[in-house]
């Protein structure tokens, strides 16, 4: 048996976080900051009973953030009989909010599918979160069972430099600021947004949020941001949107896309024809294809990949956009 009393033994961060979680989860009335710092391993060994513990307090604040990012909320509560006495604040992790709501077992196949879903983020900003999630989920699987879904490696492509910052701001409900280029006018303007949701539509990453200037929900394409996204330090979190607000805004965008229809003629036996053949077959058409789209600039890019193979019948502005792009490329390389 190893000797735990060896003085040199250093409490690691995972051990401290785990002990903190246990203590806050099982204490009957919660623990005050003083109780935490003076009794939990990882803090208590550095605690000065009558001294300045500012460094330790900061460590505790950081640990609370780490817990939150792991899905564990250490809530600050003032006991009812203490009225509004801030000094009496205690911290507690509510069991009902901590544990999975029901007992779930996952089959080996389900775990394999979930692992694949996590691996799809490989190398992307969310791979850490996805991996941590999958480790938790594996605890609901039976050890020893094995099912691999071999021969496929799906990848979600995410290489927007601002993705992580925006994703953090969505989680933490922080207002973001960025310079945004309006694709229609080319004008660059600084925007302030309460970010609600990151979406990938048509292969493009879009952040939906409440635009503070226009006082309404708006969508911004990440690739049109021409500055780093910033979050004002120490800014207060904005009020989280209700799922209904978010749904209404995403529905509105879908309705908008429904109203935008392009008609294209695809030249048979070309690369473009190969690309769109399944869609043509679906529409029971030989060469004329109708496409619904979110953004004409994105569609114009897709069309420009197949020069001379796709004829834009309508809308006219899309046709002009495609041609203007070709002309600009010729001029740039003259």
């Amino acid at each position: 048996m190893a000797d735990k009393s060896v003085a040199k033994y250093k409490i690691s961060k995972p051990e401290r976080l785990f002990a903190l979680t246990c203590a806050l989860l099982y204490s009957k009335v919660g623990l005050s900051k003083h109780q935490i710092l003076s009794s939990i391993p990882g803090y208590m060994n550095e605690y000065k009973p009558n001294g300045n513990n500012k460094t330790l307090e900061r460590k505790f604040e950081r640990d609370k953030d780490t817990l939150r990012h792991n899905g564990i909320v250490a809530e600050a509560v003032i006991p009812a009989h203490e009225d509004e006495n801030n000094q009496a604040t205690v911290y507690v992790i509510k069991k009902s909010e901590f544990v999975w709501p029901e007992h779930i077992k996952l089959t080996a196949r389900q775990l394999a599918l979930l692992s694949l879903a996590a691996e799809a983020w490989a190398g992307g900003s969310l791979s850490t979160a996805a991996n941590k999630g999958i480790v938790k989920l594996r605890s609901m699987g039976v050890v020893g069972e094995d099912s691999d879904i071999a021969g496929i490696a799906p990848r979600i492509i995410e290489h927007e430099p601002n993705f992580r910052e925006i994703n953090n701001a969505v989680s933490d409900q922080r207002v973001i600021k960025f310079d945004y280029r309006n694709p229609n006018t080319g004008v660059i303007e600084t925007r302030a947004l309460e970010p609600w949701l990151i979406q990938q539509l048509d292969g493009q990453w879009i952040v939906l949020g409440f635009d503070q200037k226009n006082k309404e929900p708006r969508n911004f394409m990440l690739r049109r941001m021409v500055s780093k996204v910033t979050v004002a330090p120490n800014s207060a979190p904005f009020e989280a949107p209700s799922p209904e607000d978010v749904k209404k805004a995403t529905d509105d965008l879908e309705k908008f896309a429904d109203s935008q229809i392009a008609t294209l003629r695809i030249k048979p036996d070309t690369a473009a024809f190969f690309r769109y053949e399944p869609k043509l077959r679906e529409q029971k058409s030989k060469d004329v294809l109708t496409l619904r789209y979110y953004d004409k600039f994105v569609l114009a890019e897709q069309i420009r990949e197949y020069p001379g193979q796709i004829d834009v019948i309508e809308p006219k502005e899309l046709s002009e956009l495609v041609q203007a792009g070709y002309k600009k490329v010729v001029d740039d390389h003259g």
Binding site: L17, W121, S139, R304
Partner: protein, 330 residues
């Protein structure tokens, strides 16, 4: 053949692993370290260390978990829950963890033939039940419709046999018959690739699935040893020594090129928004399509023949009747 590398764990990962372990292990039941490592897909040492740490924890002179340290050194784990305060429940997912997994599932759902859709829905419900219900999701993916059936390719991979198909060669817009030993399917956001051994070229190649037609399984052609031994990189395009260095400049709208093309050095800022970088390209004709699609947000700076390739590509686009069909390499 294809091994995902085991990630190095951070402190926060290790904490997460400890939570997962206590949620998984049954009080007092025996497990062995390699089995647990395989289950959680972490190195064995991480399991040993996590269990050890659990054994060390002491809160107010109580140890919530009992372990046998000597047994652990031999690779055996038996964790006993000694106190009322020994945590043994699985915590919920954080909103971000749930969102990341949910978005990954949506993406899987869009891949034909991978899973039954009700199977994915069950998993989506499990994920949803595992985090705060009042919170809206943070990420949503509405995949590009992948309308091609990849079932047949997956069958071939699972059986370990080759396939035959008509492949549209982009060079001269003709179709050629190919025999491919399939290794892995790589769905990317707009295109799905089949990574495999091309018998004709005797090399690893990436094939766009949208250019394959009339695919049939060749039941008698087993995947060769050379294909099995070939190292599959994560990158679709692997540069070779004969490649030329091309300098490109991109505006934000075309920053994607910086990631697709894998610059050989860190991109340099030309002004507030433009970035300049160098890539290695096997055939400059490939640049025509890549650069032209951005309609001016990307341009080639040098060498001259690469600039000309792009110019010719775009010119042909303006006058499709007078020019030859633009060519680019496979």
């Amino acid at each position: 053949m294809i091994m995902a590398e085991l990630r190095k764990l951070s402190d926060s990962d290790r904490f997460n692993l400890m939570l997962a372990l206590v949620g998984n292990l049954i009080d007092g039941a025996p497990y062995d370290v390699p089995e647990l490592a395989k289950h959680f897909k972490v190195p064995e040492i991480e399991i040993t260390n996590a269990v050890k740490t659990l054994g060390f924890i002491e809160i107010n002179h109580h140890s919530p978990y009992g372990i046998d340290f000597d047994d652990l050194e031999d690779g055996n784990v038996a964790l006993s829950f000694k106190e009322k305060m020994s945590l043994k429940e699985v915590p919920r997912l954080s909103a971000r963890q749930a969102s990341a997994l949910a978005a990954g599932l949506v993406y899987l759902k869009s891949i034909p033939g991978l899973a039954e859709s009700d199977e994915i829905e069950t998993l989506q419900n499990i994920i949803a039940s595992g985090f705060e219900e009042t919170k809206a999701p943070e990420i949503r993916i509405n995949p590009v419709g992948i309308d091609l059936d990849i079932r047949i390719l997956r069958q071939a991979i699972n059986k370990g046999v080759a396939i035959k198909c008509d492949y549209q060669d982009n060079k001269n817009v003709t179709t050629t018959e190919r025999v491919i030993e399939p290794l892995r399917i790589d769905p990317h956001s707009e295109v799905i690739y089949l990574r495999g051994w091309c018998q004709e070229k005797q090399a690893l190649r990436s094939f766009r699935i949208d250019r394959m037609r009339n695919t049939v399984i060749l039941e008698d052609v087993r995947i060769s040893d050379q294909a099995k031994q070939a190292e599959l990189q994560d990158e679709i395009y692997v540069p070779s020594d004969s490649d030329v260095e091309v300098v490109l400049e991109v505006e934000p709208g075309a920053y994607g090129l910086m990631y697709d093309l894998k610059p050989i050095a860190e991109p340099v800022a030309v002004n507030k928004t433009s970035r300049r970088f160098t890539v290695k390209v096997g055939d400059v004709r490939n640049l025509g399509r890549l650069v032209t699609r951005y309609g001016g947000a990307a341009k080639v700076i040098s060498p001259e023949d690469a600039r000309k390739a792009v110019r010719d590509f775009a010119l042909a686009a303006i006058n499709p009747e007078t020019a030859d069909t633009p060519k680019d390499a496979e």
